[in-house]
């Protein structure tokens, strides 16, 4: 198979995978939104349902945790811990916190779906041999910036929500460190921006070629 043929096959496979990811993402986003909005109607606990949420924490400095006033529990338990690391299971969480969590996740979900949409459009153009176009260069730029900015902002939002979650659970005592997810999307985002710059050069070359008689 020629190089061009192999490239075409790879593009087709990539397009299928991205299409699947896109539709899965839309489905999960819609289902998640419906679940969060109609959560009280699905439980027998009325308008103030409880849920279990796990928050990853890591606190090498913890001397002790004293969970008190956890709503609905009616119990107080003293825990003396050292080098706490793992997951804190928060029980009896208000639905409003679940809703807030959904709102906190909304920017990341929207950015993810937009990025997949850009990638779908990009691959669709490449499939029909419209490779080095100004639109494709712009799409790559947007994907790069989404990764860079999202890689910084979304972990911070997640961190802020996790702190709120832990406080809402009524965990007192020594501060509990909540780990920030690594800013792992920033480096791939920078790489995509470099590729976008090279693509713009390719657009110039393509235009020269198209306007050569």
């Amino acid at each position: 198979m020629s190089v061009a043929g192999r490239g075409h096959r790879v593009t087709r496979v990539a397009k299928v995978l991205v299409d699947v990811a896109w539709w899965l993402g839309v489905g999960v986003a819609v289902a998640g939104a419906a679940l969060i909005l109609f959560w009280p109607l699905t439980t027998s606990e009325g308008l103030d349902p409880s849920t279990h949420v796990q928050v990853s924490i890591s606190d090498q400095r913890a001397g002790g945790l004293l969970p008190e006033n956890i709503e609905g529990s009616g119990t107080v338990e003293v825990i003396d811990l050292e080098d706490l690391e793992g997951s804190l299971e928060i029980r009896f969480l208000k639905w409003t916190m679940v809703l807030l969590g959904g709102l906190a996740a909304l920017p990341a979900v929207a950015a993810g779906l937009f990025g997949l949409h850009l990638l779908r459009s990009f691959l669709r153009d490449v499939q029909v041999a419209r490779v080095f176009t100004a639109k494709n260069a712009q799409r790559l730029s947007w994907i790069g910036w989404l990764l860079v900015l999202g890689g910084v902002v979304f972990p911070l939002i997640h961190f802020a929500y996790s702190v709120l979650l832990v406080r809402q659970a009524g965990v007192l005592g020594d501060p509990v460190g909540v780990g920030i997810d690594g800013f792992t999307a920033v480096v791939p985002g920078l790489l995509v921006l470099v590729v976008a710059a090279a693509w713009r050069h390719g657009v110039e070359l393509q235009q020269d070629h198209d306007l050569t008689v």
């Binding site: 235009q207 020269d208 306007l211 050569t212 008689v213």
Partner: protein, 73 residues
């Protein structure tokens, strides 16, 4: 661009249409139109040779250098 293509003038002198020239030289009408309207960024020697052969002219009859202020060179 400072290079002006005078293809339309030469076609009129020879009494030939762009479509006819396209069929004779084997270049698409859209490409010849790009050339005629001064939108081309480059011309291949093979294209220039084919056009000059059919129009019985010299490259200098087709291409003209024009100063930026509009005076011909």
């Amino acid at each position: 661009m400072a290079i002006r293509v005078n293809l339309d003038l030469v076609l009129v002198k020879r009494g030939m249409t762009l479509t006819e020239l396209s069929e004779r030289v084997g270049i698409t009408l859209s490409n010849l139109s790009i050339l005629k309207t001064n939108k081309a960024r480059a011309v291949r020697f093979t294209t220039l040779e084919a056009i000059c052969r059919e129009l019985e002219c010299q490259p200098g009859d087709l291409l003209e250098y024009v100063e930026e202020d509009g005076e011909s060179g």
